[in-house]
Subunit: 689 residues, 2 copies
């Protein structure tokens, strides 16, 4: 299961492709290599076909992908992509995660508190505008100018709240495109199976194959209180996936670093990945022990734990790829080859030759304040909902007073709908869980910055982290949405006057956090952007655009085919079937089948294909992507990569990197035999035979 | 605070020195560089002086150091070295960790359940015996022959239970010495301050300086129920430490890897350190959340958490040193220089030239089964006491049936007293804590080896880790020492017949654990030993014995002087005083002073020196070492290293690596003004003025 944290995105840094393997690449819809596909698979996607696939695909703003599967707003994605909504709609008495959910009628479809579904309607090349605005600038001046031109272009485009406009940096700034999305914030839950079958095998089986999961859910987008019209949409394949057949995966891969310099990758390997893994492992331990207190504690922490464990396993896999000597040698060789080529051309050398060293220097600078950056800005609050709300209120009110083009990017006019949806979400807040998370954050803040750091002293005074967390959580009125609205409306004066202990905490940390962010942007990000752009230009000059840009959580399309692979000397077949599921069920979490599946055992033909793998190149963020055949019909639903795919952030190994998907025939069989979801089958064009 | 895990020792692998800085080296008492010291400090230790210092020093078998400070068995060590005993003697109603302890009379000194104090009485060179026995052998044959000759030499020496005999591998096998210790297992607690002052600043201040801790405790060794006679012993200095004066630190540094090959160090950097940090971080999170349930839960988990956090901080520091490019380049340069010198001499090249590649190959092999080794053998049970008891019973009974020379080293006759002390310890067992730890272990076992691993299937069957852990802990009779004694006496038949669920669990895991250990010993350890020995010989041939051997948790002596250092551009003074302590006390853990210190504030002169730093080269295991002046009088008590010392496992940076110690004057002042410990002051020769 792959999911992309939006926090991570905020600090994603533009980077540089180095090598094309078979089927490698998460391609933009306007630069898709149809000729290459035609040559390899005998099918050449036309522009009309590409447009149809783009419009049938959905971007889930929280960090996933999906597809439109009926003309009436029906969206298919993964269960784990809808799980936040499922958890938010659950209570101690009615647990949709445990029991599953199916809305028998339209009227039974409940609204998700914080879901947003986008559809990419337009791509416009704005390279000249952006590069013109920053020409010759460096450091803070570069950052400010680029931020301003981004905000200006996005504001001019986002004329209505139901348009989402974003300037996308491709090829490290070799190209800038303005993406316009249709934004849909009224998203309702239609169908979700029980977590026990959706995530059968849990964390132990996550990122593994063979696999036996029904990781699917259906939601519906509404407009003006009615199901939205969504055309074009994808139809269901009559036949399902076939070994060797071409497959396409549209979706929103989160971010990759395949074009990063070695200095950037070494920072990932030596600092960013392990150090994030340390605190996340510790938080996992806290949450696991919290969950052991009883079923309601387990329910409260389930969603948080799930996301944390998913990220942990994914980051561990990425780190292991980077410390593998052969993998690292491959990356080194590529950088060395590119630098050598640049060195052989006097003009290129003069223009771009020092870009790599500049990057390395920026990473050395970053090392000296990475702890402050991580603790005060990138992971402030470590996921405490109330802290996030407070911190967002503090910044949103302050930023609102500035001209749009000078604001932090997440508070520009174009991003207001997303901010408001977050702030005004009626999702439940669990004080016990909040206390744990915030207490943990403050403990780590003191540990990583030292008890003598001014920000730590300002926040803790003479109190312990646990006491400060308890006071802030118990005493805060931010659990009530009306209070948040009032504070937002009241602006900086209301924030300054607030005695709410959570607001006070966020306010106290905001200054130091802004300071370290500014330092990061000016001394690191600006350098990486500027030199990434230069390396990108060098690469363009030498290699052209024959490689896909790094992923940026924007719509992409990958091609491949259904195929097994060899691991530890053994051939892994591309399909699993229902016959393999039941013997694996021990009756204990996470290998426990829900009652519905135990009851349906006799009705489900054992030979029904359940999961399968393809050679498509995807990464986190692609969760929920449909697997399409050449007719652009649905043959599956991507929900994971195998363990060998976890190096995909840095490179693509065509021999073993695999997309893991639910077979379309398994979804149909389950809806029919396990859930009797006639209404849904009918809408999918799968009426009972 | 530094502590050495004995589990770590069991698998410590012999390694190779590369460079001598000022004051570098943890020297053996029979190869001490007195001339170098004389040249630098104007004082030349004689052999008589060295013998006296050796005999005045103590080795605490659990992993610490200490000193004899009266003729009547009085031992001084750190509070954190006695903390295991302090915790074991505590109950929910009488918490010696919180309240401190002072035995007003001899009769009030309670016995520590698992403490052992050793004094090194003899060193004999057995190089010829050992090297003769393994000559020309490789792999399993080498391992078996070396094990047999070790066991034979040790058995011949350990003629009584109160003798501890160990063959010590020095200079990677360039030299083998047989060490004979006087073994004292009746150890009683005399004095311990409250943890709040002993470990003031807790984990945040651990490995930091400036520092304000009274990390001291006094114990007494008994023989035949009476205080043991301990001569020679160290007398208290009248004047205390002085800036610039020479200092000596005798003690038992745990293990260092300064002579490891780059391949071994890369394994540490990329796998061993980070991967151990991941699970330890997670366990820390579990324990922290466990402690949050209430004061008694906090008390039960205090000792475990303390050790875990200490190790985490130390391992993090070690990892950071290894990923520092300049540090790594230094290590690489040294290996390259040595290999180049070997390469320039045809004979050396032929004899030793391929040793480095052989080591690298062994590490590559280890990578392929490192998870099994870690989970099944090195960290089996992850510290569950009952599991350790069960696993020890399973092995001890089986090994007892073999000839002494063919047993696993920890079960030879020479080691029987230590095994029995562990098995028959009346230390309390907390079922809630045991369930947490064992449940965590089984969860990680499944996660790291996969649910499909035969050992995982055998242990879990169709149950969850939590269920298996609960059953094993709740159902086990091993909480009772009599049951353990009976099983041990009953031998393999009793173990095989046992239905005790903890014994069943340990029995189930023993086979796979032995198998992976055997593989490790034959395919990795034997190769590292053999080639380490070869590299050692090459080094001897080129550099002689002008460097100290790597640390091996055996008695060593380091020299240095009281001196500050520069960190982040600022000069750090070598002393702290009581004046700095009180303003740092917030009243909240871990910056809370005990009531006794709050009461004594007016009586303690603010200018009383509290902690200080010296340039002595020490590492974990040296905790509790006395700091001696040229008269071999006590001027302080080592309890930590600064944060810059954490790379000390791999190299010594004389500019910033510092030993952190309690000033002898602070100990005296506290005993007098805070605790009124007249009996103790008198015994130390510090009668009231």
């Amino acid at each position: 299961m792959k999911r992309l944290s939006c926090v991570a995105l905020l600090f994603a840094v533009v980077a540089a492709p180095f090598l094309v393997h078979a089927d490698e690449g998460m391609w933009t819809f306007n630069l898709f290599p149809s000729d290459v596909v035609a040559k390899k698979y005998g099918f050449k996607p036309t522009q009309a076909w590409l447009d149809r696939v783009r419009l049938g695909s959905a971007r889930l703003a929280e960090g996933c992908s999906g597809s439109f599967v009926s003309p009436d707003g029906l969206v298919m994605t993964n269960h784990h992509c809808a799980h936040n909504c499922i958890a938010q709609l659950s209570t101690a008495k009615k647990d949709l995660s445990k029991d599953g959910f199916f809305a028998r009628t339209l009227a039974d479809e409940p609204r998700c508190p914080t879901m947003e579904v986008d559809r990419l309607t337009d791509i416009r090349d704005v390279t000249k505008d952006v590069q013109g605005a920053t020409q010759g600038l460096q450091g803070e001046a570069f950052e400010d100018a680029q931020r301003a031109v981004f905000a200006k272009l996005e504001a001019a485009c986002a004329t209505r709240d139901d348009l989402r406009c974003e300037v996308v940096t491709l090829y490290q700034g070799g190209r800038y495109d303005l993406y316009t999305y249709e934004r849909m914030q009224d998203v309702r839950l239609v169908f979700a199976p029980e977590t026990d079958i959706a995530a059968f095998g849990g964390d132990p089986d996550n990122f593994e194959f063979p696999r036996y999961d029904l990781d699917v859910s259906f939601m519906r987008v509404y407009r003006d209180g009615k199901p939205a019209r969504t055309e074009p949409y994808f139809r269901w394949s009559k036949e399902g996936p076939k070994e060797g057949a071409v497959t396409f995966v549209p979706g929103n891969p989160g971010s990759t670093s395949r074009m990063d310099t070695l200095a950037q990758l070494a920072y990932q390997r030596d600092h960013s990945l392990p150090e994030n893994l340390f605190w996340r492992s510790e938080l996992r331990g806290r949450l696991q022990e919290f969950a052991r207190r009883g079923p309601e504690f387990a329910r409260m922490s389930e969603e948080r734990l799930f996301g944390l464990e998913n990220g942990l396993k994914s980051m561990k896999g990425g780190r292991e790829a980077l410390v593998e000597p052969a993998f690292w040698a491959h990356l080194s060789d590529n950088e060395r080859a590119l630098r050598a080529k640049v060195g052989q051309d006097a003009k290129l050398q003069q223009q771009y030759g020092d870009a790599w060293d500049a990057t390395a220097k920026a990473m050395d600078t970053l090392k000296t304040f990475r702890r402050e950056l991580r603790m005060l800005e990138q992971n402030a609050g470590m996921g405490s909902q109330l802290f996030d709300v407070a911190a967002t209120l503090v910044r949103a009110t302050e930023e609102a007073g500035k001209p749009n083009e000078q604001r932090l990017p997440e508070f520009t006019d174009a991003n207001r709908p997303a901010t408001e949806q977050f702030l005004f979400s009626p999702a439940p807040v669990y004080p016990e869980l909040e206390e744990l998370v915030l207490g943990f954050y403050l403990t780590r803040l003191r540990e990583d910055l030292s008890p003598d750091h001014p920000a730590v002293k300002a926040v803790l005074g003479t109190d312990s982290p646990g006491v400060v967390a308890k006071r802030a959580v118990r005493g805060s009125q931010l659990k009530t949405v009306a209070v948040r609205k009032k504070l937002l409306a009241g602006g900086p004066a209301a924030i300054a006057a607030s005695k709410d202990p959570m607001v006070v905490l966020a306010r106290t940390l905001d200054g130091p956090a802004r300071a370290v962010r500014k330092r990061y942007e000016n001394e690191v990000v600006a350098v990486l952007k500027r030199n990434g752009e230069r390396i990108g230009h060098a690469r363009f000059a030498l290699y052209g655009t024959s490689v896909a840009p790094d992923a940026t959580f924007t719509p992409r399309l990958s091609y491949g085919s259904v195929q097994g692979y060899t691991a530890d000397g053994k051939q892994v077949a591309p399909f699993t079937t229902v016959a393999g599921l039941y013997p694996r069920a021990t009756g204990q979490e996470p290998f426990k089948l829900p009652p519905s599946w135990l009851r349906a055992k006799a009705k489900l033909p054992p030979e029904t294909p359940l999961n399968f793998v393809t050679s498509n190149d995807i990464v986190g963020g692609n969760s929920g992507s449909p697997i399409l055949d050449a007719q652009a019909e649905i043959v599956g639903l991507a929900f994971d990569g195998n363990i060998q795919s976890l190096g995909g952030n840095y490179g693509f190994d065509a021999a073993v990197n695999r997309t893991v998907a639910v077979d379309s025939r398994a979804i149909e069989a389950a809806l029919r035999q396990v859930y009797g979801a006639e209404r849904l089958l009918k809408e999918l064009g799968l009426s009972t035979p």
